[in-house]
């Protein structure tokens, strides 16, 4: 590996590199977070946690297609109390750990944040944008400017940690929603959650494959949409952006950073390139920066803007 400095300061959190494990991928246990950290991630996000435990949708919950992945996991999680027990002594993980917090109403978000407050999370991410779980995200109307403002404000009151608000690529008014989050005190925007939902039908059985029928689209299919969202957001808001969607190579990461992302999330890339996708992406970023005369991630952020 080259000596290029990939470090990033994200809302005061120091990351050795800009790659972050996206929520919902591998973030079920502390042991897996640690494994991802050992595979090069600059930070990791846990799978979203609600007040009560949830079984999620039945299988199939995750499938792939030519252009990416389709998932409707349905926010399975053991609930905040079990999560608080699972994610103790987070310093063992070796990199900053971001809590992902969900709820059907703003009080739930507050309760989960409270419940996790004794653990050493570095930030709170609130996804208001899941397209396939009744009661949550888009299906609960959390993707409006007003709801975003309300939920973010409520969380803001109960935590001093940086708050990342995670938005949907579906919503034409993504910038308005991001501004609502910014106004409510969010420290960063995570853009984007999975897109759609989409549906894949098995024609022999004449049935949608996912048990929930529809699910969020991620991976390559999502990348141009995510890049455009980040590009638009960079012009619209002042807080930093974590760019997520279809990143699996160093080039993809740099593209997202040039669109305006200060750090980048990786989900589906864990499938397409393996659990060491973080290390691979970092090596590819370094090499490219070296060949192209960049010496810091910061110097590339938003470079695609006039």
């Amino acid at each position: 590996m080259s000596k290029i400095n990939l470090s990033v300061n994200l809302c005061g959190i120091q990351l050795t590199n800009p790659t972050i494990l996206a929520s919902g991928i591998l973030g079920t246990t502390k042991a897996l977070l640690k494994r991802v950290a050992e595979n090069g991630a600059g930070a990791v996000t846990i799978k979203s946690i609600s007040v009560e435990s949830r079984e999620g949708h039945k299988n199939p919950t995750v499938i792939t297609f030519e252009a990416g992945m389709l998932n409707a996991v349905g926010y399975s999680n053991p609930g905040v109390d079990a999560a608080a027990r699972e994610f103790t002594n987070l310093q063992d993980v070796g990199v900053p750990v971001i809590a992902s917090v969900i709820g059907t109403q703003k009080e739930d978000f507050v309760r989960v944040v409270d419940g996790l407050s004794a653990q050493r999370f570095s930030a709170i991410e609130i996804p208001l944008s899941c397209p396939h779980t009744p009661g949550f995200g888009l299906l609960a109307g959390q993707g409006t400017p007003q709801a975003t403002f309300d939920i973010t404000s409520a969380v803001r009151k109960v935590t001093k940690l940086p708050i990342f608000v995670k938005l949907s690529p579906n919503i034409p008014e993504i910038c308005t929603i991001a501004k609502a989050a910014e106004d409510a005190g969010a420290d960063a925007i995570t853009a984007v959650n999975s897109m759609g939902p989409g549906m894949i039908i098995n024609i022999e059985s004449q049935k949608p494959i996912l048990s929930f029928k529809a699910g969020g689209v991620t991976g390559d299919a999502l990348r141009p949409i995510a890049v455009r969202c980040v590009y638009d957001l960079y012009k619209a808001i002042k807080i930093p952006i974590i760019g997520v969607g279809g990143i699996s190579t160093g080039r993809h990461a740099i593209e997202m950073i040039m669109a305006g992302a200060s750090a980048i999330g990786i989900g589906t890339g864990v499938y397409s390139r393996g659990i060491d996708v973080f290390r691979k992406v970092c090596e590819e970023i370094s090499l490219w920066m070296q060949e192209n005369g960049f010496d810091s991630i910061k110097s590339m952020v938003g470079a695609a803007h006039d």
């Binding site: 079920t28 799978k47 299988n59 792939t64 049935k207 494959i209 989900g267 659990i275």
Partner: protein, 262 residues
């Protein structure tokens, strides 16, 4: 590869025991012993099963009737379709030049069946031998009765073969003979004891683990066992790997992600 089920028509059904049926399909799967496939019933659910038979283009899964899903499979008839995706995971690594013992408990025997077939094919008769131990609660639960050359049985109630557990029987055998490798699948408490025993005797050992499987290809994190994804890093783990997996034999993770004692 695209991770989507392909519908396959059931072309034969074989009763292995009152609770276990094998369903056969004409399918070309690049399957290694130890791997598994996801079986889909549209609109119902999708669950992991081992391929227990491979004969030319014919593959079979042996299913123990346990709950909603396996009951639904059992109600399928010849000509019905099931969705199959995979194979997934890392299979067994064979040690053909030596004596080995394959230890199966209950339906765990299904995960070992193609391994035994393969070992019998590749083991050099002058240098090695394959011993199979199958354990069950009672005689009626024994499967693949006539399938393998040297299969020793044990039952908890003594209705067939040795009275006692597979671990007891393995311990017994070890007094008389030496195995270079043990392969095992079954209830995790049994696996734990087999591993302990192999550790004491300095025998190589590979174990097939079960955890709740969702994606099957390493992204959802549901099948974690101490940082190892059973679906892709396993389901086969060796004794060295298991020694670093604290949860092995102790803790499993449910559908919700909660840790429960095994």
């Amino acid at each position: 590869m695209i991770e989507q089920p392909m519908m396959a028509k059931i072309c034969d059904i074989q009763e292995e025991s009152p609770g276990v049926k094998t369903f056969f399909f004409k399918l070309n799967l690049n399957f290694e012993p130890g791997q598994f496939v996801m079986v889909w019933i549209p609109l119902l659910d999708e669950k992991p099963f081992t391929i227990s038979y491979i004969q030319k283009d014919l593959v079979g899964i042996s299913v123990l009737k346990r709950g909603v899903f396996t009951n639904a499979i059992h109600s399928k008839k010849i000509g019905d379709m099931l969705g199959i995706r995979g194979p997934y995971g890392r299979g067994f690594s064979l040690k053909p030049d030596s004596n080995s013992c394959v230890v199966g408990g209950g339906i765990g025997m299904a995960s070992l069946a193609t391994l035994v077939d393969r070992l019998n094919l590749v083991v050099d008769k002058r240098r090695g031998h394959v011993t199979v131990i199958q354990g069950a609660r009672t005689a009626a639960e024994i499967i693949y009765q006539k399938r393998f050359r040297d299969m020793k049985l044990c039952t908890e109630d003594g209705t067939a073969g040795f009275r006692g557990t597979t671990v007891d029987l393995l311990k017994d055998l070890l007094k008389k003979q030496r195995f270079q490798k043990v392969y095992t699948c079954g209830p995790e408490k049994m696996l734990y004891k087999v591993v302990e025993l192999c550790g004491e005797h300095g025998i190589e050992c590979e174990v097939s683990l079960e955890r709740y499987i969702k994606c099957g290809f390493g992204v959802c994190g549901q099948c974690d066992c101490s940082g190892q994804r059973v679906c892709i890093d396993g389901p086969i783990f060796n004794i060295q790997e298991l020694s670093r997996m604290e949860d092995f034999g102790k803790i499993t993770i449910t559908k919700t992600g909660a840790r429960v004692i095994h």
